[in-house]
């Protein structure tokens, strides 16, 4: 079963008089499977937040459809399985931290005893124990972000939608957040993260989608999205004659820690290198597929589109 599915989802905003139209999301078809940690990437104005708002039924699609756990997003009952953290966390600031979490848990139908235990556990997990009885209006930005994250998880949802979840966190907070995400991943929860911090997405996401101008440009795992399938062949020793032969190929050879690494940019180079190694009776100890960093993939996708 898919946790999130969109079919040709589009959203166009119109000005008050209807003269000016802005397409925020265009024909977006996407699927996030249960248990997957999925990154939604894109420059500002790419349509990430609009997509999330469509999934939450906060705005209506101009066309297409969106589903959560195979049920239409208009079915609010499916929200029992959903936790959401918005980009700018605006909490009901007249509550105290603990009471706010209790209120949200009650809305999700969590019974009183379970609420008490769960709220205490989350406050401890997010380092907010001491601020539990403090009014939310007195919270710092980072504390509010942590409390926002706590409210998203208070009813143990199966799906978490996080819009720029670490924007207000310090490095320590980001690290804590990453640990929590990895724990959620281990527990089989589905997570959709929209973020500008690519290293963060790279370290936790199974798959990513790159949006630009409301359109889905690329989707897949990092390996799938890597532009060229370059490989590294590791050998123990490389005779001088073999080395001379390798110069003729475009492979790059490096020595480090008692082993030789031969980097092949493409399939043709790899074929030539393997031929040389076979001729000189050199054994390949292991081979590693080389994937581009998410940053490289993101930038190449965006540059390709803008033509720069």
């Amino acid at each position: 079963m898919s946790a999130i599915r969109t079919e040709n989802l589009s959203k166009t905003y119109r000005s008050v008089l209807g003269r000016k139209e802005t397409a925020a999301v265009r024909m977006l078809s996407l699927e996030v499977k249960e248990g997957e940690v999925f990154g939604l990437l894109g420059p500002n104005g790419a349509g990430k937040t609009s997509t999330i708002h469509l999934l939450l039924n906060l705005i209506r699609p101009s066309s297409g459809a969106a589903y959560l756990f195979d049920r239409p997003v208009t079915d609010t009952d499916v929200h029992r399985r959903l936790g959401y953290l918005p980009e700018s966390v605006n909490l009901l600031d007249y509550y105290r931290g603990e009471a706010l979490l209790d209120f949200y848990a009650a809305l999700c139908g969590v019974d009183a005893a379970a609420r008490r235990a769960r709220v205490a556990e989350l406050l401890r997990l997010l380092g907010l124990e001491e601020a539990a009885h403090k009014r939310v209006s007195k919270y710092s930005k980072g504390m509010a972000q942590r409390l926002g994250f706590a409210q998203a998880m208070v009813h143990e949802p199966d799906l978490l939608i996080l819009d720029e979840p670490t924007s207000s966190l310090d490095p320590l907070g980001r690290n804590d957040f990453r640990e929590i995400l990895l724990d959620l991943k281990r527990r089989g929860k589905t997570v959709l993260i929209s973020s500008h911090i690519l290293s963060e997405v790279e370290s936790v996401c199974d798959r990513v989608a790159i949006l630009q101008n409301g359109e889905l440009k690329r989707v897949g795992t990092l390996a799938e999205l890597s532009p060229a399938q370059s490989t590294r062949l590791i050998v123990r020793e490389l005779p001088g004659a073999a080395m001379e032969s390798l110069v003729a190929t475009s492979a790059q050879v490096t020595w480090a820690e008692g082993q030789v690494t031969i980097r092949c940019q493409d399939a043709a180079t790899r074929q030539a290198v393997e031929e040389v190694l076979r001729r000189h009776d050199v054994q390949i100890v292991r081979e590693e597929a080389e994937t581009a960093s998410l940053n490289d993939i993101f930038l190449s996708t965006i540059k390709q589109e803008t033509g720069s």
Binding site: H53, L58, R60, T76, R80, P86, L92, Y94, L107
Partner: protein, 272 residues
Amino acid sequence: MRIVVLIAMDGIRALIHQRLLVALMLASLAGTVAFSVFLSSAREHVTQSFSEERRATEPTQGDRHLSEAEQRKFREQMEGMSSFVQAGFYKAASLGGSLVALFIFGTAVTSEIRRGTIRLTLSKPVSRTQFLLGKYMGGVAVMIAYAFFASLAVVFFALSQSVELNPAIRWAPWLMFCEQLMLGSLALLLSLFMHPILAAMLAFFAGNGFYSPPNPLYYILPSYSDFGVFFDVLQGNLVDWKDVVFLTLYAFDFVAIMLLLALWRFRTKELL
């Protein structure tokens, strides 16, 4: 229903923490009492003038008992002043309550949209219908509290001034409450289309008092004026309980229609 109650309780909590609203409610109650005290002192002034007038015209009569004609004249003047004081009290309380109602209902949903807090609430299993009804119920609960305190103030004022309550004013708190619910529901509906201040102003001035029966606006616009008992109190008229029942049904019917329209609008509103 559980969700509606939770949202209503949250609504009450939000309203209690709105300093401007609390200040408005307290100022409204204080203003009502102050206005009545002013009128009460005017009543005393009349009594005093009457005594001085009597002493001036009959300086040798000392403390003799008033004649029957004098007593009647004095009683009429006293009753007139008492009715005036109560009518004034009612008018001040009614105006204050209307402002409170417009503030509460005009901002109940829009303030959540403006601050973005609605996104978190609606990301929980809360439908828009439950959210809107909950917010309305929360507002109603606060208005009940306000009407209760306003009524208490009436009774306290009457007891402290040894004034007999005018028969018309006995229904005043209820009619006032009904009128405020009507005002509030219209302000809530309009606030989903426009700025809350504009919505409140439109709701306040949308009464059909300026139109008479052949004009279609008379039938479309709410009849706030029918809920006013100012002149009944002033003239000492009795307000018939059948009129009260009729007005109550009219108010509830109006509120139901406004809420249905607000729900229709809110369900399709983009919560950006």
